[in-house]
Amino acid sequence: MDVLVYDKTFEGFLSAVFYVYEYKLTDVHICKEAPGTVMFGKTIHIDTDEVKAKRVWDGLTKKLSREGLQSIYHAYLADTLQEEDTMLAYIRHALSSPRNIEKDYSNFAVLRLQRVDRMVHRERHRMKAFIRFKLTKDNIFYDGIEPDFNVIPLIREHFEKRYADQQWIIYDLRRGFGIYYDLKTVQTITITFSEESQGADSVLWMDQNEALYQTLWQQYFKSTNIASRKNMKLHIRHVPKRYWKHLTEKSPM
């Protein structure tokens, strides 16, 4: 089995798909990083080629609806799951079938891709919910997050529409980039954190009222709870522990 390694970009992945078709590979594995050893077959590093990528995408556009195309992109954003082989199987099924296969739930790649799409959707939804902006001294509302998947591209529009009258930054600490809205447009940015601001939401850069509203929110969270109905199992199912460290209401008062 040959292993195709691409450069983590979506175009790179599509270039790998092009390669599969170009060389009529059947037993193949696509991934972001070269595996240590490949027992049978070889490792091939794919050059990202926008023209080839576009040809694959155009081909898919003829076979899939917007949702179908999106689900491939979403599976790509599920970067930690490594679903490249599912994506390839889905693409193959789509390209070889005379009719639209998006709802062919008798096909396992279709079922799996839909599962992944749902997972990405859930993570996106979570980030819409779990962002906790902190007002900085520069009058920018900032939050650093560590989502399971690369969902910033999927939440951008939501925040742009909603928080139109304030500057804000949402930063993916895990993937090292973020988005910044400057009251006009949203741009992709990277931040070099200084020693003292590193990671933590330091009071050094917070607006003087920020701590007040954080305390009030914590108080609200506490007071709106009905203690006699405590159900931590349910609580944790909705607010999994891995998100706690970035949630104001789950930090000590």
């Binding site: 008798s106 902190k134 909603r162 139109a164 509203y213 009030l216 109905r229 159900n231 104001t248």
Partner: protein, 427 residues
């Protein structure tokens, strides 16, 4: 925005925090948290929009936190037995000023803590005095702050038509809690409240919503009016009404007043008032849960109250959900062939939800579905398998009795308590 000078910072903070503790605590028994049903757009680059219906966090009891849910004041001239805020209860009383509520809402919203405000209040002085201040808060948020987030106002019983109308112009949702499913219950537990004081404003808003919707069809410029509609809440378990009584009342509210939601609030014993179940008696969580399941089945699965609760069975089975209960009473309709059965029938199979039904219907166009496919679709096979047939081998043995099936399903189900939340993965 509040301007805080450092020297006063702590006393200011403590004052607001103390008020918030009291007024959030007193508001928490209202179970509604919905922030959906309205699609208010962000206007002129202002703050906020609605339509996402996001739960920003969940309380430790597992409920969605979507809105800043507070009382404006817990001063009240009434004495409803089931309510912590009632006049005769010896508690600390406090009120937010109009600007304090506006400021809290804006600052919570800007930090992405909430989708908006859910404001209710004890009755200060009289209905209109209270309602007027609540409307003023909504008005300030909309007109001075250009706030386009969600606003839910819980109207005060007996508020005048003018104030109700004004509320409708600023709020996304209005609610009026009917509280007691029966008239006798209301007379016993909320002697100051008259049913008419609640029904008249509800009816007014129902009519005005229709009127505005009609006008909007002709003129696009007509402003929105209560775009997320009305809701109400009934308290369950404080008096002797049956589940059937409650479901009948709820159905009437959905049909007659086009309510968007009816909420069921399991009575939490908060007082030793001898009109009520004693302190420490069990909160009817499971009962509340069954009512939500039935409500859902009526709104989305085509069931009627009479089907779920025939006259001879006025209460839900605590062991099994209402859909399974119905199916076991109607075994002659099963098993259904997954590859052929009509959607309206598939909707009635225990363990199969709306999502899966759509997948089945799409999937079977491509070929015969097998048990394996059904499992991959996320269907609760432990329940569904007794009521369906499909292609493939591993079919379970048939010809079990109703009691045997119930036993098998109960033996195989776990984590039943997780079902409590009104989430819908259960069917």
């Amino acid at each position: 925005m509040l301007f805080v000078v450092n020297a006063n910072y702590f006393s200011f903070m403590e004052k607001i925090q103390a008020k918030l503790a009291i007024l959030a605590d007193a508001a928490k028994y209202d179970v509604s948290c919905s922030s959906s049903g309205s699609t208010r757009k962000n206007k002129d680059k202002g703050l906020g929009d609605t339509g996402s219906g996001i739960c920003h966090t969940y309380t430790e009891d597992g409920r969605c936190v979507s809105l800043l849910k507070i009382l404006m004041s817990n001063i009240c001239i009434y004495d409803c037995a089931y309510c912590v805020t009632r006049r005769s209860n010896d508690i600390k009383r406090t009120s937010f000023s109009v600007d304090e509520v506006v400021d809290l809402t804006m600052n919570f919203y800007r930090r992405n803590y909430i989708e908006g405000l859910f404001l209710s209040s004890g009755i200060m002085k009289n209905a209109d005095y209270t309602m007027e201040r609540m409307v003023l808060i909504a008005k300030k948020l909309r007109t001075e702050q250009n706030f386009n987030g969600y606003i839910h106002l819980k109207s005060i019983p007996g508020a005048s038509p003018d104030l109700m109308h004004a509320a409708g112009l600023y709020a996304d949702r209005l609610s009026m809690n009917i509280e007691m499913p029966t008239n006798e219950g209301l007379r016993l537990l909320a002697p100051d409240k008259k049913r008419e004081d609640m029904i008249v404003p509800i009816r007014q808003i129902t009519n005005e919503i229709t009127q505005y919707q009609d006008e909007r069809k002709v003129l696009r410029k007509v402003p929105t009016f209560v775009p997320a509609g009305q809701s109400t809440q009934v308290i369950v378990g404080a008096t002797g009404e049956t589940d059937r009584d409650i479901m009948k009342v709820a159905s009437a509210f959905y049909d007659k007043f086009k309510m968007k939601r009816v909420y069921y609030s399991g009575y939490v014993p908060i007082s030793n008032d001898n009109r009520l179940p004693a302190l420490g008696s069990q909160v009817p969580l499971l009962r509340e849960n069954r009512l939500y399941q039935a409500d859902w089945l009526q709104r989305f699965y085509g069931f009627t109250t009479d089907e779920l609760l025939p006259e001879t069975i006025p209460f839900f089975d605590s062991e099994i959900d209402p859909k399974l209960g119905w199916a076991l009473r109607n075994m002659s309709l099963f098993p259904l062939d997954i590859n052929k059965a009509d959607k309206s029938l598939l909707l009635r199979v225990p363990g199969i939800g709306l999502h899966s039904i759509n997948k089945i219907i799409e999937g079977r166009k491509f070929g015969q579905l097998t048990w394996d496919h059904l499992k991959k679709m996320g269907i609760a096979m432990n329940r569904a398998k007794h009521f369906i047939t499909c292609a493939g081998l591993s079919e379970p043995t048939r010809d079990l009795t109703e009691m045997q099936i119930k036993g098998l399903i109960l033996a195989g189900s776990s984590g039943k308590f997780l079902l409590h939340q009104k989430q819908l993965s259960i069917f």
